[in-house]
Symmetry: C2
Subunit: 425 residues, 2 copies
Amino acid sequence: MLARRQFLGLGAGGALLGAAGRASAWTASAPASMREPGAPFTAYGVPSEWEQEVTRLPTANRDVPGNGASWSPLHLLEGIITPNGLHYERHHNGVPRIDPTTHELLVHGRVRRALSFRVQELLRYPLRSRICFLECGGNSNAAWHRQPIQSPAGHVHGLVSCSEWTGVPLSVVLAEAKPYTDADWLIAEGADAFAMHVSIPMRKAREDGLLALYQNGERLRPENGYPLRLILPGWEGVTNVKWLRRLRVVDRPVMARNETYSYTELLPSGKARQFSHTMDVKSLLLQPSAGMRLPGPGWYLLSGLAWSGRGRIRGVELSTDGGQHWRAAELQQPVLSKCLTRFRLPWQWDGAPTVLMSRATDTSGAVQPAREQLVAARGRHGYFHYHAIVSWAVGQAGDVRHVYGTGTGDSHDSNAPADIDSGWF
Amino acid sequence: MLARRQFLGLGAGGALLGAAGRASAWTASAPASMREPGAPFTAYGVPSEWEQEVTRLPTANRDVPGNGASWSPLHLLEGIITPNGLHYERHHNGVPRIDPTTHELLVHGRVRRALSFRVQELLRYPLRSRICFLECGGNSNAAWHRQPIQSPAGHVHGLVSCSEWTGVPLSVVLAEAKPYTDADWLIAEGADAFAMHVSIPMRKAREDGLLALYQNGERLRPENGYPLRLILPGWEGVTNVKWLRRLRVVDRPVMARNETYSYTELLPSGKARQFSHTMDVKSLLLQPSAGMRLPGPGWYLLSGLAWSGRGRIRGVELSTDGGQHWRAAELQQPVLSKCLTRFRLPWQWDGAPTVLMSRATDTSGAVQPAREQLVAARGRHGYFHYHAIVSWAVGQAGDVRHVYGTGTGDSHDSNAPADIDSGWF
């Protein structure tokens, strides 16, 4: 194992104990936790009191407190699963309170058999589980700003999370409803006070759409759509309609607010990208990342996440010299399609200032673009689907800052408009 | 897809709506959740108020409240991941309160370099993630009773859970400590008031032992060893020492209480099985299971879990006629080594009384035994490692009861001693 050889004898962290005598002294002093009985059993566990700062970060609209987003603290997590309590949130008018015993899903419109389903009925249908990521189309939107934002990585890129979702394949329910041949779209409606409406191509719904009932083993959390949520693996979060109450089968999209005014991108040509459903290939180095400090030269573990809505992550390359050289990171197995993938690589910091970058490639062949490439292609009027390479500058003192490109200023877009902070509410 | 064909037109659950008029009436009545803004964002989410009964079931020693177990409600869960709040607990003297900033792990004994590690130091080492099950050696112990217990499945078999664990490979830390050639065992010690000591063969420690720091993305929960736990994939829970403070490298096992008095099995020969570390191949049908009721004849989804400490699950067969015929269940992909595996199969109940069974096979070729086989091999004096086929009888009224074998009484062990309820505390 590469990592093992590198760490051997290098004293990455462990303190060497001089003699057996030291160990005896150590073991003689039993800690307080061994001298009195511990706490009793609990019916539903919670995190340690020392982890109270590991929370989501809500950023809500001042005038409409239920409209906004709450960010997963990705920079404080490891592995790929997001615990349910920390899964990102994006709501348009708060989290509805829905009694699962009376909630119904209606499937109607251009079908031969209009159907309705209660939750208990859906549980008798074939279920499938899938570990996949969910990402808001507005994730990383601060990276469109003219100046690199210095917030912790999770507070900028944390509108992505990953769960094991279990539910009924949409294809099963649709087959039972027998849509007419011209039924190319579905309008999915949520039971929240925003009355979320989203148009879904029938092809995607049939391919791998899921009527999700469980998240990481237990029933969905309220803020993730309890009791029923649409899951479209790899597709923009807004299409994964929460609190799902209706699927209307139609022959054309509904052109709802969230697919016209919002979740679209004005391109340099003056045209807007619409129905940009599939999330692009992306990666993010989290250890280290903005706001952290390396205590001194020596060995560190570079660790982060990569994902793509187009399939599996094929590889992640890391540069520790501002993009001059790239090395393949190790991908944690199993690497699953449309799923977060953890990458890691040991790195010996020599104490000199440098810039760290990660670049992902997926099995469709798509490569994560440099920031300049993305801005050139998409312009600066959009607010969605930011997925360019992220750069972290390490300073002489070990401080880690967000920079664009190599941080030399070359890649700044000096003609960019002023930052827009609330454009997506 | 098999399931899809079977469900088509059979009306497994969904109600057919007569006419378009019905759908219009339905949509006109927007539910209360759409008429007022929902709840605000939360920093750390909790389950729905309608899921308050989905909890662990603590069963503690009356005289020592921190000694006992708390069962995962497997019969109320789906998929393979156990949410952290519901992971089973087994403690011997409560849950210690440990400050992660001062906690140390000592590696010493028959090594050339005695080492100590703080948590922050371990985080700079190479990390690995692994999704695997953890099962208490005492799981399913009530199944040794003379009469089949009628508690819900999770309250009998719920000392098994499954998480994504992330931590430092034990092999890396051991290589740095440079054990002497006769160092065949490790004594792992926990920082709880029981001072848990367990002997671990060096071979297993090096093969896939993990010094776990994260569980399902976030730092370990207190009841699962915060801030540091030993994970030995596929091995008896007690060897996965929680609140790990010391690894003493030695040339023979320590013969601690939990590997002599307890976690051993007296065989019919009068000898005791000791160091029975690897968890055997096992499966458990959860939908339906004891205490549930099928509302009437029709289609149901049979769903459950299988696992083996010896590798991957190769197959799970289900019988819906008391063991006369067996059909292969569908295994949810990906099927991982030493990991819970979800199996499912649609089943049409004709309304007649019958007996449901599941039988797992693993990639080592081991097949889950019938209860008679297990009792013949192990006798009735043990209390650990029960892994025989579980039978659920479905009555005329749809009621589901636990039975042994086919429930006809043939397989009862009428010479068995009286039930022992507290034998393992």
